[in-house]
């Protein structure tokens, strides 16, 4: 027996790899929320870039339609086929990540981009989804053996390889997003709570390790000597205390988070101004296109990672909570699919995809409101970025494809 027979019921003759008629069974709630979010995203983007680079607004609209096409296409594909292809995707994405390390383009001190002709792609974005598919494939394959420790641990090996490769770029945010994904999928796959608890405790015990890294850190004293040109340039030459030592800019971000007052002009500037931006919005906001913090360039990265602050400034607490509500309804709907899907791979896929999206929404807003240290993590539908928009829409497509096939299992 091959792996494929584990996924497909051979007798089920109705399986078709691609069937556009699937769209007739689509759950319209999800696309509706997505369209509302996309429109909010456009409006916010317009406010962010109208005075300087209107091109980003136009591109964001194009991204949505491209993404919508991708989402609908994926919705027509039987997700079980995609799951069965997971090993191939996994190997491919690891190769891409290696390629980035050796031939990537540096942006803001980290190698994240791969230039392929006219396109620039971030393999780490693709990796998130690939890891979801790979874990699904793996967890379905092992079934209830997930309760055994070796099988349980092997899941971490599967996510560990891309995490290390992404950390090497370095891209802490994306790498960290893979950890809750793994935990959530193992949890839903039915692993022992005991095992999860141990892993969680290990994570907590990682805190002293972090403390050990940070205890002597002083942003002034430890500044790399050649930092005049760019921090990252000097980092490669700076001696590291061990293989796992955090880099200067990572340490500094954690330090800034712990001591925001020491560094208003540098990393802390982001958090500081973002909090002012959000806080000054008040209950009802300053009004659309009236955000002074954005117009006068006080809010940094206001079309990418900090676009939520702009929305909160112009639309106030009410607008921000409405946005959170939309995201919550989208994600909870996704978890509903996970609950109602009669077979395991759909449940796991939905859980994984929802975790990815939820992680981005939660951490991004937590960063803008000053609950977490600054790390580059975009907000779905609002932040500018083609790769990420495609990832988001692919996630939506996968989610859509799950309830479509529900009827097939009723027998």
């Amino acid at each position: 027996m091959t792996g494929r027979t584990m996924l497909f019921d051979i007798e089920d003759a109705s399986v078709r790899i691609f069937n556009w008629r699937n769209l007739r069974h689509i759950d319209w709630f999800l696309p509706l929320v997505v369209i509302i979010l996309a429109v909010i995203g456009w409006a916010t983007m317009y406010s962010a870039v109208r005075s300087s680079d209107i091109i980003y607004f136009r591109r964001q609209i194009i991204f949505f339609f491209l993404g919508a096409a991708i989402a609908l296409t994926i919705a027509c594909i039987d997700y079980r086929v995609l799951v069965s292809l997971a090993p191939v995707m996994y190997v491919g994405s690891v190769l891409l990540l290696l390629a980035v390390l050796f031939m990537g383009t540096r942006v803001k001190g980290s190698e994240r981009w791969l230039v392929m002709g006219p396109f620039r792609v971030q393999p780490s974005e693709i990796t998130k989804l690939v890891v979801v598919f790979s874990l699904t494939w793996y967890l379905v394959a092992i079934g209830d053996r997930v309760r055994k420790l070796p099988y349980f641990l092997l899941a971490f090996v599967i996510t560990g390889v891309p995490i290390l490769l992404i950390l090497a770029q370095p891209n802490l945010g994306t790498a960290l997003s893979l950890a809750p994904l793994t935990l959530a999928m193992l949890f839903v796959a039915g692993c022992r709570i005991r095992h999860l608890a141990v892993i969680f405790l290990l994570g907590v015990s990682g805190m002293p390790l972090l403390w050990w890294q940070m205890k002597d850190f002083d942003p002034e004293l430890d500044r790399p000597q050649l930092a005049t040109s760019s921090e990252s340039a000097a980092e490669s030459t700076a001696p590291r205390r061990s293989l796992f030592e955090l880099r200067y800019h990572q340490k500094k971000r954690i330090y800034t988070f712990l001591h925001p007052e020491t560094d208003i002009r540098d990393s802390g500037w982001h958090t500081y101004q973002s909090r002012i931006t959000i806080g000054s919005g008040g209950i009802s906001g300053k009004g659309y296109l009236q955000g002074t913090q954005t117009r006068l360039n006080y809010l940094p990265e206001h079309r990418t990672d900090f676009i939520f602050s702009l929305l909160a400034e112009e639309r106030g607490f009410v607008g921000a909570v409405v946005l959170l509500g939309l995201f919550a309804s989208l994600l909870l709907r996704g978890l509903m699919y996970a609950r109602d899907c009669p077979e395991m791979s759909g449940t796991l896929l939905a859980t994984g995809v929802v975790t990815i999206l939820a992680f981005h929404v939660f951490v991004n807003i937590a960063i803008t409101t000053g609950l977490m240290p600054v790390t580059g993590l975009p907000l779905p539908f609002l932040s500018y970025g083609g790769s990420f928009y495609m990832t988001t829409m692919t996630c939506i497509g996968v989610l859509l494809s799950i309830p479509i096939r529900r009827g097939m299992f009723i027998s």
């Binding site: 027996m1 027979t5 584990m6 996924l7 019921d9 379905v140 079934g143 209830d144 959530a184 949890f187 839903v188 039915g190 101004q273 909090r275 002012i276 931006t277 959000i278 806080g279 000054s280 919005g281 008040g282 209950i283 002074t292 913090q293 006068l296 360039n297 006080y298 909160a312 106030g316 607490f317 921000a320 909570v321 959170l324 995201f327 919550a328 994600l331 909870l332 978890l335 996970a338 609950r339 009669p342 077979e343 395991m344 791979s345 449940t347 859980t351 929802v354 939820a358 939660f362 807003i365 937590a366 409101t369 000053g370 609950l371």
Partner: protein
């Protein structure tokens, strides 16, 4: 077979998914709580911070108050100082080279320096790069004429102090200098780069003269410094671009600056000019006071300086020279910042004190044989006239400046009474003039000596009668300023009131109680009048050169010795004595029968005899002053009422 298993779900998977949903909802609630915290609880604080981000209060500097002299003459005001600036962002890139070349040609600035400045602001192309500071009118017009070939070049004006009389009264007006880090810490309302009064009236009346700055609110971008343009008088007429090229808009209402209060002086600038002219080439000081009020009419000190060099273009070498310790010190106001032994001027104090204390009467005479010995034994103190004056009463002693008479008087008074009366009449104490840096001088007494030599044996701490003898003619440790001697003279002229010299016309004049009786007053005045009499028929006094026909002039000469008479004998003639060792020449004078009554004190450093050198100046000053006084008084009367009304 496990491989054949249908991918059915295990029991309880729904509960686990539901648990995940609960975790998700809870984490979103955390976000909502944080948003509530930021946007509702702390809204006002963050709103204020955002507002602080949004606008830039651009300071509009207030003009400094104008300083008027006697008769409403403007002594210091403000002019528009024009800087030529270049904004690279407003000049097409291909023309930049040509513009720099033209600027170099028109203004004579260094091309390399300009290029370096432009290069330094490459990332902030809308920075106003200073090409030349405080240009002349000719320069400004030349740039304006060529404006068609100078895109991006403009002139920016701001108010700057102007001293209309240049060097005249320069030491009194003082000068402006940039505020230091210490003052920045403690003074409120000042900013880096502000000019503050560093000396003289500018320093003394800093609080009065500085205006209240206004401000305009200008849009403020996260990067880029705001810069304004100003019209030819320094008024910002439009908010421009900041250094990054963002358009600035004026937000809200502008608060106009309030210029500083005017300062009205008693100083008679014409008389001041005259006095400084008299002192030209000498080192010395002339003080002219209104005897009844203490109002300062002239306060000349030579050599002086022009305070404009501290605010105007160029003059760098002169500034450096002034601030170095070059001799003679031109920033030193010799009227009240330098001590001199009073010499024979001191006899006026002694005469008044002795008469008032009753140790002599107007009829008391002492015989002057040309020298004096305590109890006719021991050291001999010489009289300046080797042959002696014979029998002298107090009036004659003042007129002929007989040393021996006052040796006797001093011994009768004792050191305690002498120092007490000196201080009463204003010597050895700060006069309280409204100028900074006044020195007190020194009138020695027992206490002073005991303190000075506290670590020496007792015989060195004691006061000896010989010292009283020295003190009696204003020699020894005794030192005074010309201003103090003018106050002392004013005290005689106004009948015994010590006055506080002041320059601010609106300050209330302060007078002491009357210090001595009519009899004392008449006797001393008689002696001082006789001093300027020229015989025959009257005997010729030491200060006869100060006599002005038709006026009642008082005078007293003084010669403050630098070295002892024994040394004098080494030199054949006075011209042989080295400059630094020559005596100081003193003359105090006064006019009784004119309004206002004035008191004059003249000091010429190393000028030999007061009678010969200093007293002719007194005559010129008196004649000059009363010749054009009437017109001043008329104008002043009107102005004072205006000024006083404005004050209240």
């Amino acid at each position: 077979m496990t491989g054949m298993r249908k991918p059915q779900r295990y029991e309880g998977v729904e509960r686990r998914v539901q648990f995940a949903a609960i975790v998700l909802a809870a984490s979103f609630l955390v976000l909502c709580a944080q948003l509530w915290n930021l946007q509702v609880v702390s809204q006002s604080r963050f709103q204020a911070m955002a507002e602080d981000n949004r606008v830039w209060p651009k300071r509009l500097k207030a003009d400094r108050g104008v300083i008027y002299g006697r008769g409403n003459v403007v002594l210091a005001d403000n002019r528009a100082s024009t800087d030529i600036v270049f904004v690279p962002g407003e000049c097409p890139k291909d023309r930049r080279e040509e513009v720099v070349a033209t600027l170099t040609r028109l203004l004579g600035v260094s091309r390399e320096e300009l290029d370096a400045k432009i290069e330094a602001h490459r990332r902030e192309p809308f920075t106003q790069i200073l090409v030349k500071r405080d240009v002349t009118k000719a320069d400004r017009i030349r740039v304006e004429e060529h404006s068609y070939m100078l895109p991006g070049v403009l002139s920016v004006a701001h108010p700057q102090r102007r001293y209309l009389y240049g060097k005249t009264a320069g030491q009194i007006l003082g000068y402006l200098g940039e505020i230091g880090p210490e003052e920045l810490k403690t003074w409120t309302g000042y900013y880096m780069g502000d000019l503050i009064g560093r000396d003289g009236l500018e320093m003394m009346y800093e609080d009065l003269l500085r205006g209240r700055d206004g401000h305009m609110l200008v849009t403020k971008y996260a990067s880029g410094r705001p810069q304004l343009r100003t019209d030819k008088r320094g008024v910002p007429y439009i908010a421009q671009r900041d250094s990054r090229g963002n358009i600035l808009v004026e937000e809200g209402r502008r608060q106009e600056p309030l210029p500083g209060n005017p300062l009205y002086l008693t100083l008679d600038i014409a008389l001041q000019e005259k006095c400084e002219a008299l002192l030209a080439g000498e080192q010395g000081a002339i003080v002219v006071l209104e005897a009844d009020t203490g109002a300062v009419l002239a306060l000349a000190s030579s050599p002086g300086y022009d305070p404009s060099v501290f605010v105007n273009r160029g003059h760098r070498n002169e500034r450096l020279e002034l601030l170095s310790n070059a001799k003679p010190n031109r920033m030193l106001n010799r009227c009240f910042r330098e001590n001199y032994p009073p010499g024979s001027l001191y006899k006026v104090v002694l005469a008044a004190a002795a008469l008032e204390e009753g140790v002599i009467t107007p009829e008391t005479t002492f015989f002057c044989p040309g020298h004096y010995q305590i109890n006719n034994q021991g050291r001999r103190w010489a009289c300046w006239r080797k042959g002696g004056h014979g029998n002298m009463n107090v009036v004659e002693a003042l007129a002929f400046s007989c040393d021996v008479f006052f040796y006797n008087v001093g011994m009768r008074l004792g050191v305690d009474k002498i120092s007490e009366w000196s201080r009463k009449m204003g010597l050895g104490e700060k006069t309280g003039i409204d100028l900074p840096g006044e020195v007190a001088g020194l009138i020695p007494d027992r206490e002073w000596k005991a303190q000075l030599f506290a670590d020496r044996p007792v015989w060195e701490r004691n006061w000896y009668p010989g010292e009283t003898v020295n003190l009696s003619i204003g020699q020894g440790s005794c030192s005074t300023t010309p201003l103090q001697n003018a106050v002392m003279m004013a005290c005689i002229i106004n009948g015994g009131h010590r006055v506080r010299p002041h320059l601010n016309r609106l300050a209330d004049p302060m007078r002491s109680e009357r210090l001595f009786s009519d009899r004392t007053y008449e006797t001393v005045v008689k002696g001082l009048r006789m001093c300027v009499e020229k015989g025959p028929p009257a005997p010729t006094g030491t200060g006869y050169r100060a006599q002005v026909p038709g006026m009642t002039v008082l005078g007293k000469t003084g010669t403050a010795q630098i070295m002892s008479l024994a040394h004098h004998a080494q030199f054949k003639s006075e011209e042989d004595i080295p400059y630094a060792m020559r005596d100081h020449a003193w003359f105090v004078a006064g006019v009784l029968d004119r309004e206002p009554r004035i008191a004059i004190c003249i000091l010429i450093e190393h000028g030999h005899h007061g009678g010969a050198v200093a007293s002719p100046y007194a005559k010129e000053i008196i004649e000059f002053f009363y010749a054009h006084n009437e017109q001043f008084q008329r104008e002043d009367a009107g102005l004072d009422t205006i000024a006083r009304r404005g004050e209240h």
